[in-house]
Symmetry: C2
Subunit: 361 residues, 2 copies
């Protein structure tokens, strides 16, 4: 089953012609999930190979404008283009306050969506940002229920797990964890559940079990009774389970809060981390709640992530391959991250770059 | 003094890579005024020859998303780029509800603008849209004062003039008039005041008046006393006043409401009018509160506008010069308008097209 991510906006603070505002699409099983939705995301989607109509879930890392100002417009356009009422509902996950932002934007622009949306809000903890920046949005949206869909959940931190459980089905689980930024920010982990290992066909044949329904039963975890009356357990004829893939997408941050990030992102296949400024500006970055390539690489190293992808670059950095004088090229940021990673390759995100994450064998 | 308009977005309903969402910039005396601000306007500004930092006034025709969803992001980016606090204040004019939209968007995204903005709200009349679409936003923004600038005015219709007076100084006046649309919509007229006619220098010399302060006095409208004791009035030595230029920008509409549009737009140098759908779709257009080329041309003809510019085209129409099969080319819409205008040339707006309006002699 294919799994890929496509960067739709890799610029910090505002969209520019060379880097859109933050947005990333994840494609799996014909569905498209969006992470952040800065202004212009709908146009970036049109320019990409993706089909916006496939979007069924949207995850918002934090409420800064360059991560949410494209959301009302994207929803309106999805609605306009789905006038056969076949558009699947959309579940939206993001910090407390997101529902009010959407409600007010849709209400004041007289926008009636033709498909259901549901906003699930994550309640941040007060220590996710400097105390003077914290705003309590818990009583903001009284009487502002989105009429377009079923009411969303209000998700509080699971103190034991130090995370938020957002989605779980037979195939995967999505959790959020806390980050420290100028405003409360979150990271998201999509983890596929392990698949059963391969059946040892030779062993089954030796035991006299012929291909048929028994194979399916064993693979699904049930035991069978052999003709000689003995019970055959799945573990007897199945290889070790095949681990699922893990994708981690972090919002803006100067670093994670608590131990969940490191635990949940352990052995990630891909870790997407912001690197707004170069290492030489580490103090300035931290003061603004942002990371440098070294900050990102240190976390990736601690998590033993297979692949670190840097994104959310200040628009001051010249895109790779673009000539220019004086300005720092973004490739310098890669060099800084690779130095921390002991020379291991680091990827620099570009708008419309797609990364495929192969199935594990 | 140069006066020009630049189209930044000429598409209907949503932004696309070939046509941005609605936005038009007017440049005069080093200042830049914006009419509508659909999603992506800030990026379109970066792609154009205009300098966003020069924006001092923004006029919003109506509250549909494709006309306002770019406004919070544009203001945030202007603020980010003006950290020397030299950015001039921005006055924003638009329908009631606009202040609440902006307040909520800026508040929830934790955006602190570093320059003052003031939102002046136009109170629409209930007959500007179908009764079932009318929403009363008059009590929406209690306690939502924008802290970023002085409070704005609440502008009610001047019943005698059937219009709203927005701006008036020594050089020009800007008025709004009512349009009929799915939601209350407005048109804006910028009218330069007449300049005094040329001094008849030969006549002055014959009367013995030498070049000097007297010339300035006469030009400014004051009379002078000649050496022989006679009084010379400005009208004796000034040619007829030179009329100012007039630019009319209409929001989405199926037509104007009341008689003000025709009166205020009379003899416009440029009349910018939407033509969302072709004439063959006139019923559908009207039902959606929109115009076709013939609707626009009929108004332009009645107003004796010197130049009609059509814009806000449904994204279904193929841009001029772009090959394609089956789809109607936008040039067909020009033909339809020109048929009504008795063959007079009609202009089709394209993103980044600039039209200069020469000074009258």
């Amino acid at each position: 089953m294919s799994l890929e991510i496509t960067f739709l906006g890799t610029g910090a603070a505002f969209p520019s012609p060379s880097r859109g505002a933050s947005a990333l699409a994840l494609r799996r099983e014909g569905q498209c999930w969006l992470f952040d939705c800065g202004e212009g995301t709908q146009t970036q989607l049109m320019r990409s190979h993706l089909r916006a109509a496939r979007i069924t879930k949207i995850f918002i890392t934090h409420l800064h404008g360059d991560h949410i100002f494209g959301l009302p417009g994207l929803l309106c356009t999805l609605s306009l283009q789905s006038n056969d009422a076949s558009k699947a509902p959309v579940d939206i996950y993001g910090p407390l306050g997101l529902r009010s932002f959407l409600w007010r934007s849709l209400e004041l622009s007289h926008s009636q969506l033709l498909f259901p949306i549901t906003v699930h809000e994550l309640v941040p903890t007060r220590d996710q940002c400097p105390p003077e920046e914290f705003k309590d949005f818990s009583s903001l949206d009284r009487g502002e229920e989105l009429s377009q869909g079923p009411p969303g959940r209000v998700l509080h931190l699971d103190a034991g797990e130090d995370s938020y459980l957002l989605v779980e089905d037979e195939q995967l689980v999505v959790r959020a964890f806390r980050l420290f930024h100028r405003v409360p920010s979150f990271g998201f982990v999509l983890q596929e559940k392990p698949r059963p290992g391969k059946l040892n066909v030779q062993k089954l044949k030796d035991l006299g079990v012929q291909p048929g329904p028994s194979y399916g039963k064993l693979k699904s975890g049930a035991s069978i009774v052999l003709e000689n009356g003995a019970t055959l357990f799945p573990g007897d004829v199945l290889d070790a389970p095949i681990p699922g893939r893990k994708i981690c997408v972090l919002g803006d941050c100067s670093g994670p809060l608590g131990e969940a990030a490191e635990r949940l992102c352990r052995d990630a296949d891909v870790l997407v981390h912001e690197a707004t400024l170069a290492d030489g500006q580490r103090d300035k970055a931290r003061q603004r709640g942002h990371s440098t390539p070294a900050t990102a690489a240190e976390l990736a190293k601690r998590c033993r992530a297979a692949r670190l992808v840097l994104t959310h670059f200040s628009q001051r950095y010249r895109p790779a391959g673009q000539p220019g004088h004086g300005d720092t090229a973004v490739t310098e940021l890669r060099r800084q991250a690779e130095a921390v990673m002991g020379g291991r390759e680091v990827t620099l995100a570009e708008d419309f770059m797609t990364i495929e994450i192969p199935v594990k064998k």
